[in-house]
Amino acid sequence: MKSTTRSVYDPFIIALACAATLIGLLFIFDAGYARALRDGKGIIPREFIVQLLTLPIALFAGWRAARVKPEKWLKISTLLWVISLVALVLCKLPVIGVEMNGAHRWIRFPFFSLQPAEFVKLTSVLYLGGVLATRKAWPSKITPRKNFAHWMDTICVPKFERALPLVWVTVAILLIEIEPDLGTAAVVAATAAVMLFVGGVSWKSLGACLALGILGGGLLVMKQPYRIQRFRDHGDRWSADNADDSTYQTVQSEVAMSSGGIVGVGLGNGRAKHVEPATTTDFIMATIAEETGLLGSWLVLAVMGGLSLRILFVAKGVKDKFRRLVLVGVAAWFGVQACVNMMMANAFVPPIGIPMPFISSGGSSLIALWLAVGLCQAMLIPASVKGEVFAISDHRWRNRRPHLSGARGRAALR
């Protein structure tokens, strides 16, 4: 059989991702130039150059990912997961890992470094999708327990085996959390939760996960009380002590956004870029909102929300469980990350380091995101054998009619 895969199955997703990436490039430059000038490194910010250099790599990676068939993805999902877990451990090692500002988030390569946690977002989606799609249904009737050994064989061990992937995901989340990178850990956790929910995990199990999550969270807080302090400071972020210290970023971002108003102060006129420390990453929304106003921020939200909703929308039309779960996972990842980033920047929630997908600067993040976009396209590759193609085109954007073009389409219809 001839390989007939294409790279683009849903141009909407690509278009929205492109739009977000372009907005990102514009504002990375805009938000970064002030610091670059102040540091005497010329007008072009380093973050912008990195982003620009990474973009072709990211696009290429996405294009390659789009051409890998879902079956292949399913097959390698566990392998990718193991690799990413190993990578997370490598971050902590002295020579291979890079320490920056007390955080161990990077793995050193010649000429560049990568942030494995960004890729864990992607591999966790694939891994969980694979696990949830391929697991067998729990037998509806189980012979009553005869003795302990029988109980172990029929209930305990199988149950544990079923839950084992979740343990691995938890390990990954903890590894990211202790980097420390609370934001990425939270995104992975949230994405996993959505996938478990949509993946059809029983309410009982979901409840257990939630309970364990709360328990684990509680333990983390007890161990490091500064996390609670963070919440307290956030409520009191305008006090003289906090505004210059722990809540400085939030306060400055809030001020910048407020001064932007509805239409903004105009491109390049913002103040946030001068005062925010994470001006091109976590708090890039401060500059966008300040300079383009509420209209601009809503546009960003529309692009990112639209992207997520579009992926969820196409996911509904996909019958294959693995494909659907991967699409849902990616949508959850993009959507949760975008919304939480915005609410964090506008001080609705306390600051947790979550960047705006596609828009915030970050090489690893951009590659992972475009890989995910490619992955979404790959999940829409027709199953190539008879009739399956209709399943994909159920909810295609053109009049809900089969949309097939070219010789391959006609061949499929024949």
């Binding site: 505004a243 103040r271 909102a289 509420l294 809503w298 939200l301 019958k319 975008a338 609410m343 506008n346």
Partner: protein, 609 residues
């Protein structure tokens, strides 16, 4: 799991996600629109939005004529650390130690003790302060503050406090600091703009429209001579303390220019002491009586009366005057000092013996209109115009019903009130060929110069010269009241005065005066001393004010290196002697001066006194 469950759950996930998007959209609108006003208000309130920093202008100095400072800001900085708000890092302490010279261990210990605010009063230099600022930026040490100490240094301290005045906590309180505040203080600058976390301004985001560059205060250069000011103050202090006087004033002026070379008063205060009241000894300590007190000039005023009488031609050097010890004008009788009968005497004798009766005759000979015109010309009834605060002007009652008596009394310095500064300025005319100069205290303000300015020719040069010689007679004549105040080798012109003062509620007292020129010919300096209410050890001008004059005169000699012109312990110069003899060929009364040839040898015999 059935497909329906999955699809339902997907639907729920989608709805939840939409809810999340709406929440994000709402929260964004909340900050940017609904809560906009309150956020911005809060930002402005907590100085997170725009910050205004006042750039304090440097206060100008008050300088002596030679450029030495009388008052200046010291260029030091004070360090203040709130240890709760600085990094407790060895590196930070090390940087701080390198910048300040204080050992790092001291900072570390204070930090360990969990101290709040600690202030270092050891002032730092400009250079050190810059290094501290660098450390502050580098370590983001918000709890570190460094500011200009703003200490004002008064070099002459209490010796010039009455004149220079005092600034306390940036508030001018007295003296030139107060009156020249506008020039000295300059204008504070203001920088408005965005600041970064460390509080440093962002150069790209400065508000140019609202920012103002600071204008430093200008230096005010006075005509004061550093050494003479100090000497005058010391001499005055000695006398005021010895005689338990209420207060004293000493003014040294250059008769040629009207420059105030020294203006001292005692009691005084230490302007740089903590409470600013240091050695303040009475209610008048922080006043400058030279321009604020109005006193009867007393006997010394006879000189001015005589100058006018000579100038008008109503009195001649050869005229004889008769004194019966008292004189009745109208219904009132006034006496000479101690009721002494001076008898028949020459004009010069009348000055030397300080005869009130004769002086009252002179003023009446001048006539009321001319006399009033004269004292007005001398500027006695005006403010001295020196640029000092609360200057007073002299008083003369133009509506006194007893005009004749008033004129008679005014002739010897009663019934007229003047400020010491203005009367000193009037006396200067005698040493400047009758040309009155406006008194000058401020020579330069910044780059603007105030040159000496002549007011008018008040009397003819000969008249002034004659009065000067009469003043020499005061010193040289054995009967002269200033005889004991001579300085060997120098010709000195002087006149004592003892004015009786009657104040409301007080039993009365005296103002002991002395006015003199040094040298008597072509004088370099006029010295006026007034000591108010001496209570111990006499009250006569010669006893109380005279020694002050002598001390200051010696200082003038040292300061200007004036060479002696007379043989030591020799008699009266011939020209003065001639005046004392009223034109007689030789005088039995003053044998020493009759040696004709002595005059020729004077210059050879000259040695420094």
């Amino acid at each position: 799991m059935s497909r329906t469950i999955v699809n339902d759950r997907l639907q729920w996930a989608t709805y939840s996600f939409m809810g999340l998007v709406v929440l994000a959209a709402y929260s964004q609108a909340s900050v940017q629109v609904f809560r906009r006003g309150s956020v911005l208000a809060q930002a402005t309130k907590s100085k997170k939005f725009v910050q205004t920093v006042v750039d304090i202008a440097r206060r100008g100095r008050i300088l002596c004529a030679d450029g030495r400072a009388l008052a200046q800001d010291d260029d030091s900085y004070v360090l203040q650390i709130d240890f709760a708000k600085v990094p407790h890092s060895e590196g930070f302490f090390a940087d701080l130690a390198a910048a300040t010279g204080t050992p790092a261990s001291e900072f570390r210990e204070l930090a360990l003790q969990g101290k709040g605010n600690v202030v270092w009063h050891t002032p730092l230099s400009q250079d050190q302060s810059n290094k501290v600022r660098e450390a502050k930026t580098k370590w983001r040490a918000n709890g570190l503050d460094i500011h200009h100490s703003g200490n004002r240094v008064y070099v002459l301290a209490e010796s010039a406090a009455g004149l220079v005045g005092q600034v306390k906590e940036d508030k001018p309180l007295s003296g030139m600091e107060l009156s020249q505040n506008a020039a000295l203080s300059g204008k504070d600058g203001k920088t408005v703009g965005l600041v970064d976390r460390t509080g440093a301004f962002l150069p790209m985001r400065l508000d140019k429209a609202d920012s103002l560059p600071k204008t430093d205060g200008v230096d005010v250069t006075t005509t004061i001579d550093f050494d003479l000011q100090e000497a005058a103050s010391q001499a005055l202090r000695k006398s005021v303390d010895a005689h338990h006087a209420e207060q004293g004033v000493a003014i040294v002026m250059d008769p040629k220019t009207g420059d105030i070379l020294a203006m001292a008063n005692w009691p005084s205060f230490d302007p740089s002491s903590e409470d600013g009241k240091g050695v303040k000894m009475s209610r008048t300590s922080d006043k400058n009586p030279a321009t604020q007190a109005i006193l009867e000039p007393g006997s010394t005023f006879k000189l001015l009366t005589l100058a006018k009488a000579l100038d008008k031609g109503v009195v001649k050097t050869t005229d004889h005057f008769r004194c019966n010890g008292s004189e009745t004008v109208g219904k009132k009788t006034f006496k000479c000092d101690k009721g002494e009968h001076h008898g028949d005497m020459l004009m010069a004798d009348a000055i030397a013996k300080s005869c009130n009766v004769t002086a009252s005759k002179w003023s009446r000979m001048i006539g009321r209109t001319d006399f009033i015109q004269y004292i007005e010309n001398l500027g006695l009834l005006e403010k001295p115009g020196l640029g000092l605060p609360y200057e007073n002007h002299g008083r003369f009652n133009f509506n006194d019903p007893a005009q004749e008596l008033q004129l008679a009394l005014a002739g010897f310095g009663q019934a007229i009130n003047v400020t010491p500064a203005s009367v000193a300025s009037a006396f200067c005319m005698l040493g400047n060929d009758g040309k009155l100069m406006f008194p000058r205290l401020i020579a330069k303000m910044g780059t603007r110069e105030f040159p000496p300015e002549m007011a008018m020719q008040v009397v003819k040069p000969q008249s002034a010269d004659t009065v000067l010689k009469c003043m020499e007679a005061v010193m040289d004549s054995p009967e002269g009241t200033g005889h004991n105040l001579r300085i060997p080798g120098y010709r000195i012109a002087g006149k004592t005065g003892t004015a009786q003062v009657i104040r409301a509620g007080e039993s009365g007292g005296h103002v002991s005066n002395f006015v003199g020129f040094l040298p008597a010919q072509n004088p370099r300096a006029l010295i006026l001393v007034m000591v108010d209410h001496p209570t111990v050890g006499g009250y006569y001008g010669a006893d109380v004010a005279g020694p002050v004059f002598k001390d200051i005169a010696k200082a003038v000699i040292r300061r200007y290196g004036i060479a002696p012109t007379e043989p030591l312990n020799e008699g009266v110069p011939t020209d003065v002697a001639a005046l004392m003899l009223g034109g007689r060929a030789s005088g039995e009364k003053t044998p020493a001066k009759s040696k004709g040839p002595v005059a020729l040898h004077r210059h050879h015999g000259a040695t420094r006194a």
